[in-house]
């Protein structure tokens, strides 16, 4: 091992969910990697691309290619952002007709991994030595499964976590209704979809809802918090990124945090 890994934090994790990034650092270091954080990185730009603003996404595409060009392994704790980098950055670069950018993008894209892909495909690990004595339900997020094509990797990693009880989620493959700007442009529909997802999550009786995309967790978690608030008892089911579960070990009692 002893690989040097550049962390692609993603903008949402950097600003809204720094604990996920910290957990990713802790996990990768525990597994013997050296972690770098190139500060010129920003975001995958999909909020622009997917809303139709391709020119506006180019700054993020360039920043990504430049920040990560020196590294053999770029690892992001987000199926959606990694999928956007892999699927959309080459197309956006091609739209500029800038051959140097196209080349730089193609090269860095080939070295970009979603966290669970890196753990299983590169490090060859399913059991990362994690300990999480809680009941958990798992939502395979749309972009992780259908765009990044992470397959069952998150589930395989979860299956090896000691102390963890996994309860199935009904309609797990249904979209939570986030969809980036969809949640604002089609707010009524987004509300109906997240209400369905949250009620399925609550029916599991789990303590935690886990997945590999904090954007979806922000959506479902916001709804769970609202439901909890309505009952006057506050939110009972918490959302958690897979990296945070995998970062917990028996020894440290989960104290990897901020």
């Amino acid at each position: 091992m002893g690989k040097t890994v550049a962390l692609f934090a993603t903008c949402i994790n950097d600003v809204m969910y720094p604990e996920t990034c910290v957990a990713t650092v802790a996990l990768l270091e525990r597994l013997g990697c050296e972690v770098a954080f190139p500060v010129e990185q920003t975001c995958c730009g999909q909020i622009f691309t997917n809303t139709g603003y391709h020119a506006e996404a180019l700054g993020a595409v360039r920043a990504y290619a430049e920040a990560f060009s020196p590294y053999d392994f770029v690892v992001g704790p987000s199926g959606s952002c990694v999928a956007s980098v892999r699927d959309q950055h080459p197309l956006l670069a091609a739209e500029t007709g800038d051959a140097r950018l196209m080349e730089a993008v193609a090269s860095v894209v080939a070295r970009t991994y979603e966290l669970t892909e890196f753990l299983i495909d590169v490090l060859g690990l399913e059991d990362v030595g994690a300990y999480f004595p809680h009941t958990v339900t798992f939502h395979p997020t749309c972009h992780a499964v259908r765009m990044a094509k992470v397959g069952d990797r998150p589930a395989r990693l979860l299956a090896q976590v000691r102390g963890l009880t996994l309860v199935p989620l009904e309609g797990a493959d249904q979209c939570c209704g986030f969809g980036g700007t969809f949640s604002v442009k089609n707010d009524a529909l987004s509300a109906a979809l997240v209400a369905d997802k949250a009620s399925e999550v609550m029916r599991t009786g789990a303590e935690y809802l886990v997945n590999v995309d904090n954007a979806c967790l922000m959506n479902i978690g916001g709804r769970l918090h609202r439901e909890g608030g309505a009952q006057g008892g506050g939110c009972t089911i918490r959302t958690i990124h897979l990296a945070e579960i995998l970062a917990c070990t028996e020894g440290d009692g989960g104290r990897w945090g901020l």
């Binding site: 950097d14 770098a36 529909l189």
Partner: protein, 519 residues
């Protein structure tokens, strides 16, 4: 623009259909208004969401059909290879469409059919009307015959044929059970495969009891809501029309270029009746419905039924090649309709939508369609494929067409099931760019300003760092982990859920302090 209810007629072209005064109508009037004048999708969807009956019907229907599709596609070990083959066949067809269309035309003529080309909806309507009127004069020396029977056909809805015929005094009777429910219900289809997917059996019973007697054989007075009895009532009502009709109109599922063979698959046998009983058959098809060879049907006739109805094979598969003396229709016309398709073909990203074989799997799988049904899409083609096809066929001028590319969370469930592997989310994103490019030519709105600002921030790590610090500061001032209500645009988020606030320190900050900022 009306904001209360979506408009209601099966229109897809640029001029309103001529409508006869109500008293002179031969067939049930569809709801007033034109599809292209539908309110933007979010508005129509919000309206539909209030209809709990619709939501229950849709949920039940989509979940049932999804499960069936999943079962019958899983049992084929080579399903993914079939999909790849379907994609390749349709790509080859589209890449050489001019060649295959001419081959089809030559073979149709050789076999005794007559071929007509229509560049748009008006031309197609005119061709069909003239053919029917000419038959009327030849057969009875009357100005027009009274009626035609129809097999379910998407393209005739696209070109608004029924209303054009009605305006000329020609009654077109839908013979597919679900289309009959829609027609008698003064309604519009909400699904391309299951047009009455939004209706339950009690509603169907009411429609039959109320309407059948006005247009032909009445429904039995003691009709209950048993699907078997409902189907029997429809059968009796339709039989009368089948036996009387001299002309039938049909769509086509596949046209085989090498032989000039037309193929229709269906479940009820009404299609078989239309294709064999009347003296004259007019088949109308979009120019993209070709396959080069009969062998290609081996792939397509596996993909289509398993993807659409979840059956291994369609109950009825009818193929006809021109005229066979003494058997079936003695006069066969084929109308090849462009109506925007060549324009779609010119767009290298958008053209992939022309591979569509109209199986409806993408609709049934779509979480958005499941919630609201087909009507808010303002098109005869609803759901995911409608959202990419309609704005391309009609152009991006109307409010509904500008909103359709955004009628998706981009979850990708549609592309995962599409039997010809149409990358619907990619085409949606492509069309969104076209909508935005158009907007950028106009005056700059809030969305454009926000996107520009966001793009500027995301061009430099240092700018994102500052934005993160500002968010942390906001959190420090507000001192709440969750916000329950926001003003303005933010209200669209907090109407349904709380907003989690960012923590005071972002990851960049942590890294700088814990790791001394080394990269």
């Amino acid at each position: 623009m009306s904001t209360s209810s979506p408009p209601h007629s099966a229109t897809a072209s640029t001029t309103p259909p001529p409508v006869a005064p109500p008293t002179m109508r031969r067939t049930p009037a569809p709801p007033p208004g034109r599809l292209i004048d539908a309110p933007p999708f979010p508005q129509g969807a919000a309206e539909a969401l209030k209809n709990q009956q619709l939501r229950d019907n849709m949920r039940h229907a989509t979940h049932t059909i999804r499960a069936k599709r999943a079962r019958v596609t899983a049992e084929l070990p080579n399903w993914e290879e079939l999909r790849a083959a379907g994609e390749a066949i349709k790509n080859r067809t589209l890449e050489n469409l001019d060649y295959y269309l001419e081959q089809l035309e030559a073979n149709l003529i050789k076999n005794g059919a007559q071929v007509h080309w229509a560049s748009d909806a008006q031309e197609a309507q005119r061709i069909v009307i003239d053919l029917i009127k000419a038959k009327g004069e030849n057969m009875t020396h009357q100005p027009t015959p009274q009626e035609v029977v129809k097999v379910k056909s998407m393209v005739t809805q696209e070109i608004e044929l029924n209303e054009a015929l009605e305006a000329e005094g020609i009654a077109a009777w839908e013979t597919d059970l679900a289309e009959l429910i829609v027609q008698l219900g003064h309604d519009r289809p909400s699904n391309i495969l299951v047009p009455a997917i939004h209706r339950n059996r009690d509603e169907v019973r009411e429609i039959f009891l109320r309407e059948m007697k006005l247009y032909g054989k009445p429904a039995p007075e003691d009709l209950d809501n048993d699907p078997k009895n409902l189907a029997a009532a429809a059968r009796l009502h339709l039989r009368e029309k089948f036996l009387r009709a001299k002309i039938a109109l049909s769509g086509v599922n596949f046209c085989v270029a090498e032989s000039g063979t037309l193929v229709i698959v269906e479940s009820e046998g009404n299609g078989r009746m239309c294709l064999t009983l009347p003296e004259t058959l007019i088949s109308i098809t979009g120019i993209e419905k070709l396959v080069p060879t009969a062998q290609d049907l081996e792939v397509m006739l596996q993909l289509l039924p398993r993807s659409s109805t979840g059956e291994r094979m369609n109950p009825y598969t009818s193929m006809w090649t021109g005229v066979t003396p003494g058997d079936g229709p003695q006069e066969v016309h084929v109308v090849l309709v462009d109506n925007g398709r060549s324009r779609v073909l010119a767009d290298p990203v958008g053209r992939e939508a022309l591979r569509c074989i109209r199986c409806a799997a993408c609709m049934h799988q779509c979480p958005v369609y499941e919630k609201v049904g087909g009507h808010p899409y303002g098109s005869v083609y609803p759901g995911p494929i409608g959202s990419v096809l309609t704005p391309q066929l009609r152009g991006l001028d109307s409010a509904i067409d500008k909103s359709l590319p955004y009628a998706s969370t981009l979850c990708g469930a549609c592309a995962e099931v599409c039997p010809v592997k149409i990358p619907i989310p990619d085409i949606l994103v492509h069309l969104r760019q076209r909508v935005v490019d158009e907007k950028k030519r106009g005056h700059r709105g809030l969305e454009q300003s926000l996107m520009r600002l966001g793009g500027w921030v995301m061009a430099k790590g240092s700018r994102l760092g500052l934005a993160g610090a500002a968010a942390g500061l906001a959190r420090a001032l507000i001192r709440k982990e969750y916000l329950r209500s926001l003003p303005g645009l933010g209200k669209r988020w907090t109407a349904a859920r709380d907003l989690r606030m960012p923590p005071r320190r972002n990851f960049r900050h942590w890294w700088k302090h814990e790791r001394g900022g080394q990269a």
